[in-house]
Amino acid sequence: MSVTEKSPNAAHSGHDHGNSHELAHHFVSVEQQHDAGNLGMWMFLTTEVLFFGGLFAAYTIYRYKFERVFEQASNILDPMLGAINTIVLIFSSVTMAFAVRSAQQGKSKAIVAWLAATILFGCMFLGIKVFMEWKHDAHLHVFPTADFNWTYAREMHSGGEHGHGHDSHGPEMKGILFNAPVVPQKYIDADARNPEAKQARLFFFLYFTMTSLHAAHMVIGFGVMAVIMVYAWYGYYTPNYYVPVESVGLYWHFVDLVWIFLFPLLYLLGAHLGAGH
């Protein structure tokens, strides 16, 4: 019943005397350190589940209340672009998984390469979203700002499958958002009389908030990945210490998971309605 002095684990050569940063002073072994870091990252992802979960809850409630309008509003979005983006993001998840695998194998330069590929495809995702989808959305006036207009959006969307129709009365005035044309007054009046316009605006508010929050998480991910790339370049990560790479991997896969749910809930709601509704 006496205390035993706990000596450093002789069984593991994990106490690498070359890389003294491998084991922090308050941990007993590299396994403990790795498990602690991994568990900590999963804890953080738990908070992210509940963080996005609040938005999913709001979405669920309002979709339940305004189902038909939400379907029509969802129809405005382009599911093809959404699907392409889904594949792009999943591919970036694959490259990230390979980055972690390289870290497990101790291949430092490979980590950098795979992380660079991940950032590249992540940027592709954001590029498609911002410059193709959001530009289209701005021209249809579905950003939930003061110049949101449901009547205009529906008319332009169903009026032309090959792009948006023009209102040819007089010269086109440009708004600030992606140089979208300013909405004529008759549409503003029509919206004021239509209670469904506010419900549609709620859909787009949820759409932009959820996707913007998702995009913000991606940008933060890029930053963290860039830092990890620098460390990896200088050989900081070894097969005994790669938990930061694994952690950013978990984070990136989580970002992918959120999108896997956002895509059907936001883009595919109204797909069965077809064009022109």
Binding site: M1, V3, K6, V28, F51, I61, Q199
Partner: protein, 558 residues
Amino acid sequence: MSTIISQQPRNLSAGQVPEEHSEVNYLNHETTIASWLLTLDHKRIGILYLVAMTAMFILGGIYAGLLRAELITPKGDLLSSDFYNKSFTAHGVIMVFFVLIPLVPASLGNFMLPLMIGAKDVAFPRLNLISWYVYMIGAGFTLFALLAGGVDTGWTFYTPLSTTYLNSNVMLTATGLFILGFSSILTGLNFIVTIHRMRCPGMGWFRMPLFVWALYATSVIQLLGTPVIAITLALVGVERLLGVGIFDPRLGGDPILYQHLFWFYSHPAVYIMILPPLGVTNELISTFSRKPIFGYSMMAGASLAIAIFSFIVWAHHMFTSGLSPYAAMFFSLLTFSVAIPSGIKVFTWLATLFRGSISFDSPMLFAYGFIGLFTIGGMTGLFLSTLGTDIHFHDTYFVVAHFHYVMVGGAIVGFMGGLHFVWPKMTGKMYPEFPARMSAILIFVGFNLTFFPQFLVGYLGMPRRYHEYPAEFQVLNVFSSAGATVLGVGYLLPILYLPWSAFFGPKATRNPWGATTLDWTHTSSPPSPHNFEATPVVTEEPYKYNTLFKKESALVGH
């Protein structure tokens, strides 16, 4: 000075007993400002939190003083109605978010957790320091909002008042609280990983002190609940910015959705506030009755049960808001069930005290006060969870009295007991016992005098959050304000004698209370920077007190 029973550590051989009072310890081995502000030592971070929270407590207390001063007379003569509203909002925001939520975990928890489980530090020391800075930044934002003119929505920020009708200080305050949430999350995350992965050899789950179980349950709540209020505050901010109407009925939104999301966190939040003091009380009751806690597994299970149940009862704050009556019935039933684990705890303490060797040292006086006040607070919660009576009591002073009984009479008193208990370990000095007992008694008497009349005045119908009231309620309000003065004196005493003792008090021994957990038996007072000379190995359950004892002094050199 009192003589305390000696407790020899059972699993240390004579040559390995740490010094009683080490000359080189975590407090004096480095003394520059940078060594404090850039410390990675969980013990120092605990003290940083303690200082910050004391300052916030004093500020929140000043606002409370203003409120009680105004309420001495029925007319609104001291403060304008607007300033009164801003005062109770400030009081609520400061006390809830900056004092009560981090109270025990960030100070006592940070200090004690690694010591109790035989670890050298928490799992992520840098995150620990970051959490303190995040707390300070969040506090800065919120205090700036208060100075910039304040917010008068109440600490609950109900919509559409906060989203549509108010000034922009709401955004500042919401930002401050959003940032503060991360401090809570990081602390919880750190504790969970520490408890899972850094227990010393031999310390199985059922050999941990019960305070650790309480911290674990609290951390689970912090982790799961805080993100929801974060996103809720973010939605409030975005709604103000874009004018969308997610919570505005004129624009198709639902203000009750805000309340659902808000209370989904804020109800578990109150369990964040009370679970750690419940854990502290376990340590106090056990140590000062020289008996193991009556049902260890039940206590541990009750802590976890409270944590889980706390998430499924939130709508009992919304019974009169327009909630569906069927949902109200559902939540009312669930709320009754959450009283069960709390009741288990109280009865367990009584069973522990029974046939124990009870003493009345100051930490134990706080523990007795805790049991009494928490029980009253908890039982009055039943009145509020019953749908019919809640219709009458909602938004009256009955509610105010109920939550002050549990939050102040419970959490703060429990914290005070824990603080006194830990003080000799934390500082290596013993505080003077007589003022400490005075403080405990004054707090107990002053608290009851302040808040018991509020039950009565609430029952009689006085609404809360009003700066004036009908003249028939004046007598009870005067009692309440008088009690607040006594309570204030009771709080003032420790703010004076505790720091005094840290610098000028007599040196304390390693284990003045005769406790049995690793933090007392295997570390000196104050502990060395790396806590333990050698990693302890635990071989038996905690709370095994010596039945044969010899009297020994609590103070070095006596």
